[in-house]
Symmetry: C2
Subunit: 163 residues, 2 copies
DNA sequence: CCCTAATTCAGACTTATTCTCAATAAGGCT
DNA sequence: AGCCTTATTGAGAATAAGTCTGAATTAGGG
């Protein structure tokens, strides 16, 4: 399900029910499976600011008694990212992270390139820039993320280890 | 070599000579090698808007008669990214790209999540936001990138292939 | 209830990136 | 100019994130 606001850009709605997820999948000729429902449920109930890798999600599901294969997890998060339901984050680690894509919780990341410590921050103008830019090019906006690479205070003080 | 401007944030200077690169390496107890000099030279003379993967760089160097190992290339681009000399771009492909980090050429990416087509755009406020945010947290800014995920006009029209 | 095509699952596979370690060489010092 | 320490390189092995395959399952339309 898609919601347009007064500024005329489109963004996924904040919360999916079984029905709205099913409707959005069916729009594209896809199906609602228990696996997809369960995975979306995890992300919808994740604490604000938490994000999961595919492996994280796999373990979390297993701990809750859901035996969903890694292949399905990889396929599902990619699918939901391409639908605009999830955000795909490229943080400092060597794997992707995912979180729900909700305007209300929209935020960005400040990453230390040495120790990988990451701080989240909000900024109202970023989404406006993303909106303006994508509209100008005729793109349909799904998500926009500002990623800042920097050196944290603690790493500025420490001696650099040899690469 | 580091340059501070009137706004008090720090950013690598636009152009490196053998001496300035050497100085910046020595500050950290590192060495200037022919390989590092050659690799930086490639990036400094790359057409604006071009970016290279490690493999791209390896082939380009080979075509110019420079036999630098892939290991060294991976190590060097990562090193230079952590120094703020290069930007590490996470585009839609499954490998990283690098380009020189110069305020003058500072730009961002609008990516189609379906066909991976990428458009570069400039925006003056993004760097200001990155500056303000990193300063507020006491971080030393190296680079900031706005990445917009969206669906391009052509992909909006086409039928969706099954994932 | 049937049928078709989408989806799942297990496991093989791919491949970007990192690691290891012996050989080399940068650069500080005399 | 030669010496010494240690950072760096290079070749190849290793790692691991993510994708692909093919048979079995199942969603959902009729
Ligand atoms: Mn992680
Ligand atoms: Mn590429
Ligand atoms: Zn740090
Ligand atoms: Zn496209």
């Amino acid at each position: 399900m898609i919601v347009s606001d007064d500024k005329n850009w489109v963004m996924s709605m904040s919360f999916y029910t079984e029905d709205s997820l099913k409707a959005e999948l069916h729009e594209r000729g896809w199906r609602l499976t228990p696996q997809r429902e369960i995975i979306l449920d995890i992300f919808q109930n994740l604490a604000a600011g938490k994000h999961l890798s595919a492996e994280d999600l796999y373990e979390l599901l297993k701990s809750e008694g859901h035996d969903i294969s890694l292949s399905t997890i990889y396929r599902t998060v990619k699918l939901m990212a391409r639908m605009g339901i999830l955000r795909e984050l490229e943080l400092a680690e060597d794997h992707k992270h995912y979180e729900i894509n909700q305007p209300y919780h929209h935020h960005h990341h400040l990453i230390c390139v040495r120790c990988n410590q990451t701080i989240e921050f909000k900024n109202e103008s970023v989404l406006k820039i993303g909106d303006k830019t994508s509209k100008k090019e005729g793109y349909h906006l799904l998500d926009c993320q500002l990623t800042i690479h920097a050196v944290c205070p603690s790493c500025q003080r420490s001696i650099l280890p040899v690469s």
